[in-house]
Amino acid sequence: MSLPLYYFLAITAVNILMSWALYVPYRMAHLHFLIVANMAISGYTAAYMVLSLHLPFGLALLAGFVLGAVIGFAVALFIGDAPTFAVVIVGFTFIYITRTVIENTEAVGGTMGLFGLPNIGGSPSVHRWTILAILYGLVALVGFLIHRFDHSQLGRAASAAFIDKDLTTSLGIDIKKMGILLQTFSCTLAGGCGVLYGFIYKSFHLDYFTFHVVGILMTVIFVGGYTTLWGTLLAAPVLYGVPLLFPPEVASWRIVIYGALLIIVLVLKPEGFITTRFVYGIESFLSRKRGKRTPLTKPQEDV
């Protein structure tokens, strides 16, 4: 596999996973940017474990997940039922503080970053395939979990909380518990993503964990659509991939393009391109097709 393709596939998977991590708490209107800080904290910790303590990658990855979960849970205890803007600002301050701490900690390379992470399984090729396998395995698993969540009682409760927290509380739904659950889930995911992200490039640099990445994730879920997980799945590769095809002069303005796109979509299609209604339409279309034919035939071929 060529190196650019590997990077594209791997980064796309990370973007999908991270956008989902943002998507899940946003189901109840929590725009939880703590996940970006989680990525950095878990990633640097895992890198430190591998580089300085010579622990195996698997253990470091596990530690990344656990660290994300613990931090996410601890923070969620306070802001599980906080208003949206408070959740946003907590995430941002966390990112800022994490960056400052990392910048000033020599053990993790400070402003220089961490380099020279080992290949998993010895050779570069095995390393790439392992990373891709783990990432896309996670995409499948997390996608399945979120799909189940969206179609569960909890998912419906989250949608209600998105529109009106007070009303939802009066229906006997514990908003705080739900917030804690969703936030912890997304932080756990983000922790693992942080570790994997570092191992894609085999290095860590603080330049990634900035407000830029916040902007990209936000654009992905708002352009793709925040009411269903499919929008993200589609928007993440497109929004990351298309600017790669631009000439460098244009590509360097991609954050401006993202910002403009975000604003345009919010004005014209407030729920994003892929909405629950759209998905519902496709589902009923498919089931109608299936109703006419036996499920195993390929409907497209005989048209």
Partner: protein
């Protein structure tokens, strides 16, 4: 002790700027009903415009000031129809969307500043803007003209703002909409027109802040907006979103706190400490110390 006094003086001038920023932010929140996350970024953009005009005109301060104020008002007025479109239904969901939209605006501004001006390098304002030598110097304590102007203009602008709010016809309409938009509509107050007035007013305030920041800090970088934005939003959350008097108290306190920390702890950490303190307060009371006015 001398360090302490010197830093309190620094803190008061810095705090005045925070107060102005929070006031502009809260005005938009209360009257136009938007969370303009990127309001401080608009201010930093105006700083860049001031710098550009100063470069082009050979440090013509009057033109620079005019350009700063105009650009900030214009930027606010241009974004107004976009915000109003998103804010159509005026529900909680829409307020959150305005916040996301504002972040989009912030992304654009920051990126334009980091490529479009001065090849992405931080900009430095001429010393004439800061007003030159210290007015008073006693040991470690010195008072710079920029600090005095930040404080004086801050006091004048804030009292002018409150006077406008409590003694004039537009101010009355602002307060009415802030309390009950539907009720205000029933009385015959034009929501859109009054909303636009608040955009223009916070733009004017933003231009003033840009000038003061240029005089006080003397430099700016593309990342400044994000950092200030964080502090301003944190201050307004701690004060209780939309709470004008709370914003006054907390904004000034943050300025002083930050300056004192800076006096005793090295640069990179002092900012982080301010953030840690803000974070702890928000975690403990996500709806603010003085109550939400929203």
């Amino acid at each position: 002790m001398e360090v302490f006094i010197a830093q309190v003086i620094n803190g008061i001038s810095l705090g005045s700027i925070y107060v102005l920023l929070v006031t502009g932010f809260n005005l938009l929140l209360l009257v136009a009903m938007i969370i303009h996350f990127a309001y401080p970024q608009v201010v930093v953009f105006s700083m860049y415009i001031i710098w550009l005009v100063l470069e082009v005109t050979g440090n013509n301060l009057i033109l620079g000031a005019l350009a700063g104020v105009t650009s900030s008002i214009l930027l606010n007025l241009i974004s107004a129809p976009l915000f109003q479109k998103v804010m159509e239904k005026r529900g909680e969901v829409d307020i959150n969307s305005t916040m996301v939209m504002s972040m989009g605006i912030g992304m654009i501004i920051t990126d334009v500043l980091s490529h479009g001006f001065n090849k992405g390098h931080p900009i430095a304002f001429p010393d004439t803007l800061a007003g030159g030598e210290a007015i008073l110097r006693v040991g470690l304590i010195s008072i710079l003209p920029g600090q005095v102007s930040a404080f004086v203009v801050g006091v004048i602008a804030v009292s002018g703002f409150f006077l406008l709010l409590y003694k004039t016809r537009p101010g009355r309409a602002f307060r009415a909409i802030a309390e009950d938009p539907n009720g205000a509509r029933l009385v015959g107050i034009p929501l859109l027109k009054t909303g636009l007035q608040s955009y223009a007013l916070s733009g004017l305030l933003g231009g003033l802040i840009a000038l003061l920041l240029a005089a006080l800090i003397g430099s700016a970088s593309s990342g400044l907006g994000e950092q200030v934005a964080l502090k301003v939003i944190a201050v307004s959350i701690i004060a209780g979103l939309g709470n004008l008097v709370g914003g006054l108290v907390v904004g000034l306190s943050l300025g002083i706190l930050e300056a004192i920390v800076q006096g005793y702890i090295s640069g990179t950490w002092s900012n982080a400490i301010a953030f840690v303190i803000m974070l702890l307060v928000i975690l403990a009371k996500p709806t603010g110390l003085f109550g939400l006015k929203l």
